[in-house]
C-alpha cells in the first residue's frame, strides 16, 4: 500500500482522497460507483455468483397443487456471468481510483495545483473526449454482445437441452461431453452430418461470394459502357432488390418456384414440362436455386460498389493498353480485374464470412430443407451451420449442441479470416497508409 493517509483510505472508500483534495466531481463519481457496486452485489449479484459452480441445487417441487420453483440455472448462469463482469469492471475502476489518488498526491508534493472541477468536466469534451464518446457504446457492446456470447460459450459446457430447462429443471456443467458428441461417428453420431453441413456451408459461401462478384462486375461494366443510355434507370431497376425488405421478396420468390407455384404452373400450362420441376425438393437443385436467387439479391450490391470503383481506374491505363494493341478482353484481364481484386480484397473476405452466416436467404427460401434420412439431427441439404443451430434451438430446445456448433462456426470464420486477411496485398499497403 503506497500513498499517504488520504490515499490509503481511498483503497476502501473510493473517491475519498479526491473529495478531501477538493476534486469532488471525481470523488463523487467514484464513490457513487462503489455504493452502486455494493448495492448490486448485496441485492442481486451475490446470490447468483455463489451458485455459479453448481448452477443451482434446489429442485422445483409441489406444495399441494401449487408449484414452488427452485433454483433457476439459466438465471444463475446469466447473472453470474454478469456479476463477474461487473466485478472485473469494478476492480478496474478501483485501480483507476488508486492511480488517480497517487497522481494527485505526487502533483501536490511537487507543489503544483490539481486541476479544478470545471477543468475536469471540461476535459471530457476535449482531451478526454474519447472517454465521453466511447463509454456508452462500449458498455452497450459489453452488456448486449459480450455477455451473451460468453453465456453461449458456457452453455456448450452444460447439459442445457429439452430435458434440462429452467425454471422447472436444473442444468449443470458437463465438461467436454457435447464436443465429444459432435465428433461422434456411427449411425446415431452427429459427426458425418456436421462435416456435410460444414462442407455445404463453405461451398455456398464460395459460390455466393464469387459468382455474385463477377456477375456484379459484368453488369456494372455493361451499364458503364459509353453507348448505354438511361444508366440511372437500369441501376434503379436492379437496386429494387435491396430496397424491398427480404421477407417480402424472398417469401414471394419461394412461393413462385414451389412445385405448385407460378413458374411450374405456367411451364406446365404451356406444355414445356409434364411434371413440375422440383426446385425446392431435389437436394442438388435446391442448392443451385439458392445460389441463383442469391445472385438476384447480390448483383445489385456488387454493381453499386464496382460502378464507383471502375470510374476510379485511371483512363490513361486503358489508353496505353489500346495503343499497345490490346483488345477489351485483354484490358479487362490485365487492368480491370487486378485493380478490382486489389481494391476489394478485404471486402470479398467480409462478404465470404458474411455468407458463411447468411441466415436470411436460406431460412426464408428453404428453412434448410429438403431434409434427408441420411443426415442426423434434422439437418437439411441446404442448411448452413447457422440455420441448423437455429432450428436446433427452436424445434428441439437443444441449446447445448447449438452452442457447440456456434463455437465451431466461430472457429471456421476466424480461421478463414486470419489465414486470408494477412495475405491480402491491399491490407499490407493499407497498413502503411494508416
Amino acid at each position: 500500500m503506497k500513498g499517504d493517509a488520504k490515499t490509503k483510505i481511498s483503497y476502501l472508500i473510493l473517491g475519498f482522497g479526491q473529495m478531501v483534495r477538493g476534486q469532488w466531481v471525481k470523488g463523487i463519481a467514484f464513490l457513487t460507483t462503489e455504493i452502486l457496486f455494493i448495492l448490486y452485489m448485496v441485492k442481486f449479484g451475490g446470490t447468483y455468483l455463489s451458485k455459479i459452480t453448481t448452477l443451482g441445487t434446489v429442485e422445483t417441487y409441489k406444495e399441494g397443487r401449487k408449484t414452488v420453483y427452485g433454483d433457476n440455472s439459466f438465471h444463475i448462469l446469466l447473472f453470474g456471468i454478469l456479476t463477474i463482469i461487473v466485478i472485473i469492471a469494478f476492480i478496474c475502476i478501483w485501480y483507476l481510483n488508486i492511480r488517480d489518488n497517487l497522481k494527485a498526491e505526487a502533483l501536490l508534493k511537487q507543489g503544483k495545483k490539481l486541476p479544478s472541477n470545471t477543468k475536469v468536466l471540461r476535459s471530457l469534451l476535449d482531451e478526454n473526449f474519447d472517454k465521453t464518446l466511447m463509454t456508452l457504446p462500449v458498455a452497450g457492446v459489453f452488456l448486449f454482445t459480450v455477455i451473451p456470447i460468453i453465456f453461449m460459450i458456457c452453455i456448450a459446457f452444460t447439459n442445457y437441452d429439452a430435458k434440462h430447462q429452467a425454471p422447472a429443471n436444473l442444468f449443470t456443467w458437463v465438461g467436454l461431453d457435447n464436443f465429444k458428441e459432435l465428433l461422434s461417428f456411427g449411425t446415431q453420431g452427429m459427426g458425418m452430418t456436421f462435416f456435410k453441413v460444414l462442407a455445404w456451408t463453405v461451398t455456398w459461401a464460395f459460390f455466393a461470394t464469387f459468382i455474385d462478384y463477377f456477375l456484379g462486375l459484368a453488369v456494372a461494366m455493361l451499364i458503364n459502357k459509353k453507348e448505354i443510355k438511361l444508366k440511372k434507370l437500369w441501376r434503379t431497376i436492379l437496386v429494387l432488390t435491396i430496397a424491398v425488405p427480404q421477407f417480402v421478396s424472398l417469401l414471394y420468390v419461394m412461393k413462385m418456384f414451389a412445385n405448385d407455384g407460378l413458374i411450374n404452373g405456367y411451364l406446365m400450362k404451356w406444355g414445356w414440362i409434364s411434371s413440375p420441376i422440383p426446385f425446392w425438393v431435389d437436394p442438388m437443385l435446391s442448392r443451385v436455386m439458392i445460389i441463383v436467387v442469391n445472385i438476384w439479391i447480390g448483383i445489385p450490391y456488387l454493381m453499386l460498389i464496382t460502378t464507383g470503383l471502375l470510374m476510379n481506374i485511371p483512363s490513361d491505363l486503358y489508353e496505353s493498353a489500346r495503343v499497345d494493341g490490346a483488345n477489351s478482353w485483354q484490358a479487362f484481364i490485365h487492368i480491370t480485374l487486378p485493380y478490382m481484386l486489389f481494391v476489394t480484397g478485404p471486402f470479398l473476405l467480409t462478404q465470404f464470412t458474411g455468407n458463411l452466416n447468411n441466415f436470411n436467404v436460406i431460412y426464408l427460401l428453404t428453412q434448410g430443407r429438403p431434409q434427408s434420412i441420411n443426415l442426423a439431427n434434422n439437418a437439411g441439404s441446404t442448411d448452413l451451420l447457422v440455420t441448423w443451430l437455429y432450428k436446433m434451438t427452436i424445434n428441439d430446445s437443444n441449446y447445448r449442441m447449438a452452442a457447440v456448433i456456434g463455437i465451431m462456426v466461430f472457429i471456421v470464420t476466424a480461421v478463414v479470416t486470419m489465414v486470408v486477411y494477412n495475405r491480402l496485398p491491399s491490407v499490407r499497403d493499407e497498413e502503411g497508409f494508416q
Binding site: 476535449d126 455477455i147 434503379t236 425488405p245 417480402v248 438476384w296 456456434g406
Partner: protein, 295 residues
C-alpha cells in the same frame, strides 16, 4: 482513305451490334429483376373474397378481377396491421437516429483520438463479430426481460438491443473520417477549439454523405428483422413488427388463403422503404463503395 473508311464503318457496325446486344442483355436482366415485384403487385390486387376470387395460392399471374379487397382488409382494423406497421416505423426511425449517433461517436474517437487500448478494442470487436448472433438471442431475451423490455415492452427493447451493439459497425464511417485530413483538426486546435467543438462543428458537417448512409442502412434493417423480433415480442400481438406478423400469414396453417393479403401488406411495406432508398441512393453508393474499399 477509302480503306480507312471501310474499317471505320466495319467498326461502327460492330459497335452498333455490341450496343444492341448490351441493351438486349439489360432488358432481359430487368425483366428477371422486376418479375417478382410485378407478380407481387398483381397478386395484391386479387380479391380474397370467395364470391369474387380465391385468395390462396394460384398458378396464374394476372387476377381475373381487379380488386382492392386486400388493402381494404389491411386498413379495416380486423388485424393489427396498422399497429405492426407503426411499430416497425417507430423502431426504424429511432434505431436509425440513435445508431447513427453511436457510430459517429465511436468512429470519431477511433479515427482521431489515440487512447490506450484502442487497437485492442478494435481487434476485440472484430473477433466478436465472428460469433453467430442467433445463439445469443435467448440470452438477450432474458436480459431484456430483466428490464421489462419484452412482450409489451418489446419495441423499446428491440431499439435498445440494435443501438447498444451498433458501436461495432464503425468500419465504414471511420474509414470516411480517416480521409478527412488531420491537418484541419490540428489547425482548429491551435485556434483553441476543443475536441467536442471540432467534432460537432467541423467533422459532422463535412460527413453528410456518410451520416445519411449510416442512417439509411440502420433505417432499412428493422423492416427485415424477423427472428429476433419474434423472440422478444412473442405472445403479444400488438408488439409485433410487420415481418413477424406477416410471415405467419405464409407459414402458419391458421392463416390459409391469406396469400394475397400478404402480398398487399408486403407492397405497403416496400413502398416507403423503396422511395427513401431511391431518393438517397447516391449516398448509399458512396457509403458501400467506401466501405468496400476499406473492408
Amino acid at each position: 482513305m477509302n480503306s480507312e473508311k471501310k474499317i471505320r464503318s466495319g467498326m461502327k457496325k460492330k459497335k452498333i451490334f455490341g450496343t444492341v446486344m448490351a441493351y438486349a442483355v439489360l432488358i432481359i436482366i430487368s425483366i428477371i429483376w422486376l418479375f417478382p415485384f410485378v407478380g407481387l403487385t398483381l397478386q395484391s390486387f386479387r380479391s380474397y373474397d370467395p364470391n369474387v376470387e380465391y385468395g390462396g395460392m394460384v398458378d396464374y399471374l394476372i387476377p381475373k378481377h381487379f380488386s382492392l379487397d386486400n388493402y381494404r382488409f389491411l386498413f379495416s382494423g380486423e388485424t393489427n396491421y396498422l399497429i405492426w406497421y407503426r411499430n416497425t416505423l417507430v423502431i426504424a426511425v429511432f434505431v436509425s437516429i440513435l445508431q447513427t449517433i453511436v457510430i459517429l461517436c465511436v468512429s470519431y474517437a477511433l479515427s482521431r483520438m489515440r487512447f490506450k487500448g484502442r487497437k485492442l478494442l478494435m481487434r476485440f470487436w472484430l473477433i466478436l463479430g465472428m460469433f453467430p448472433g442467433f445463439l445469443t438471442m435467448i440470452c438477450l431475451y432474458f436480459l431484456l426481460k430483466q428490464f421489462g423490455l419484452t412482450q409489451a415492452g418489446a419495441i423499446p427493447g428491440l431499439i435498445l438491443v440494435s443501438v447498444a451493439s451498433s458501436g461495432m459497425g464503425y468500419y465504414v464511417c471511420k474509414g470516411y473520417f480517416d480521409t478527412i485530413p488531420k491537418a484541419l483538426d490540428d489547425a482548429a486546435r491551435i485556434d483553441g477549439a476543443s475536441r467536442a467543438r471540432i467534432f460537432l462543428t467541423m467533422i459532422i458537417p463535412m460527413s453528410k454523405p456518410i451520416i445519411i448512409y449510416t442512417a439509411l442502412v440502420a433505417f432499412m434493417a428493422p423492416w427485415c428483422d424477423y427472428i429476433f423480433a419474434s423472440y422478444v415480442a412473442f405472445g403479444h400481438d400488438a408488439s409485433y413488427n410487420v415481418a413477424v406478423a406477416m410471415t405467419r400469414w405464409v407459414w402458419t396453417n391458421d392463416y390459409q388463403g391469406y396469400f394475397t393479403r400478404f402480398c398487399a401488406g408486403g407492397i405497403l411495406v416496400a413502398i416507403p422503404v423503396t422511395i427513401l432508398f431511391m431518393a438517397l441512393q447516391n449516398y448509399y453508393v458512396e457509403g458501400v463503395t467506401g466501405g468496400a474499399v476499406k473492408g
